[in-house]
Subunit: 285 residues, 2 copies
């Protein structure tokens, strides 16, 4: 098996990109001075048709995908709306998304600001809106895929392996990772995947979403809105995340480390075609 | 040394509180059915003097401290303003904070919603406001304190040890942990500490803040606003977090695991009174 799995990806992390990390002088526990690589964190302001929507803190790559995915996952871009242009301005740190439709963003924004005026932490607002009608497609999940994905992703050169302090999200099909995004905000990494899917008109029905972050209500809702029936994480669960996954018919696998995992929703779709003891991923991420 | 350090605390986690975790039926990698403890996640809507400010997703303990600390760290409560009443309604999942002053929250809210209408991820907005004038008090930090704190905190019974998927923040003085808060949102855990400090009129100048979360710009800014000159984490750094810590004169210690740590700001205040090889904390959190 290849040690470096980057060639398998449509988009892989680019730890060599000098815009994404910076070397900072510091000391270790013995007093030894060292140059420590740390991730960048910069503001990006997202506009929709001339309306300023949000300023997100991001590592800074794929700003167009981040803007598109954010707006889509916030239901500010409707599925039937056509995006006519996405303009990123590096100096101004802005992205402007233009559509042909009349958007409902003003109403949305008013609703959101009423329920969540300040943007620290997690939003509630109209988060659950649109989930009632949503049912994810049936999809079987081979446990061998999960082990292969986990091993491949952990071996992939990444900003995480270079500098830490960053979350990763990977869009996969069966045992193949396709698009691997990283960001200081775990939601940004997911939104960048959503933006890529929207741009490429990729359907979520045959996909698996792998994330390093916890399986909270927000993460499950984003995955559901992206039409992806399987969500996998190295981290743990919240009770509400589990409730929503069960409601929309999502297979939810967490605490995936080495041979071990826990499945708290949709376990009837798991196809156990791998002996856990043969799982190769022993390395932590 | 006592195995259970809970008695040392003014406030310690309460993993036995049945409102905070729930047992969910699931399967493991072998197909074995098990009851898995997962953390709760519930909405809490915070009002200031009749104005709805935000709905946060929280584990649900100490709602009054969360509301006070959130408003203070958002600079919606001014230092000279007197809080006259804090009412929590369990059924409505609301907290109302009342003050005697005329607050500037409406202006603040308008400003925030213009720059950050939707509350997912991290805010920029007027985040840096008020930091220019701020300089933290001089404070030496004994490395022995850091090792003792880390070992004590890791041994403290917590929801993290029970169910995972939760962040912890601990307010400490020298080698003594005082107040240990946990929450699904790492910012909530910090805000609950800030709320406690505000209620108890505790000064931050002689304190150390320990967090399990990453040292991002937001985390450093919150710590600075709380007047705490030392911020320590098991996790890593972002470049902007380091920049702000250096600007306000904060000692910033990250990647603290076992005997190892990295200091990227204020290292001149470290008093190296412990041999790293004697550090006792080998257990991961």
């Amino acid at each position: 098996m290849a040690r470096d799995a980057s060639h398998q990806y449509l988009i892989a992390p680019n730890p060599g990109d000098r815009r994404l990390t910076r070397s900072v002088k510091g000391v270790d526990e013995t007093g030894k001075v060292a140059d420590i690589p740390v991730v960048e964190e910069r503001p990006l302001t997202i506009f929709l048709n001339g309306q300023e929507i949000v300023t997100a803190m991001t590592i800074g790559d794929y700003p167009e995908y981040l803007a598109l995915g954010f707006l889509r996952n916030q239901r500010m871009l409707q599925p039937d709306e056509t995006v006519t242009k996405v303009d990123y301005d590096d100096d101004l740190e802005t992205v402007v998304v233009r559509t042909d439709g009349s958007t409902t963003y003003e109403e949305k924004l008013k609703k959101k600001t009423r329920t969540s005026g300040c943007a620290v932490g997690t939003v509630f607002g109209d988060m659950m809106e649109g989930l009632d009608e949503l049912t994810l497609p049936e999809a079987s999940v081979h446990t061998s895929w999960l082990y292969t994905l986990s091993a491949t992703i952990n071996r992939t050169p990444s900003i995480y392996l270079e500098a830490g302090a960053i979350h990763g999200t990977v869009l996969c099909r069966q045992d193949q990772p396709l698009v691997y995004m990283e960001d200081v905000g775990r939601h940004n990494a997911v939104d960048k995947i959503a933006g890529w899917m929207l741009s490429e008109k990729e359907d979520g029905g045959d996909k698996i979403l792998y994330t390093t972050g916890r399986l909270t209500s927000e993460m499950v809702i984003k995955c559901a809105l992206m039409g992806i029936p399987v969500l996998v994480s190295r981290s743990g669960f919240t009770a509400w995340g589990v409730d929503i996954a069960r409601q929309v018919g999502m297979t939810l696998v967490g605490r995936m480390r080495g041979a071990r995992f826990t499945c708290l929703s949709g376990e009837e779709r798991l196809v156990r075609d791998a002996e856990p003891k043969h799982a190769q991923d022993k390395k932590p991420r």
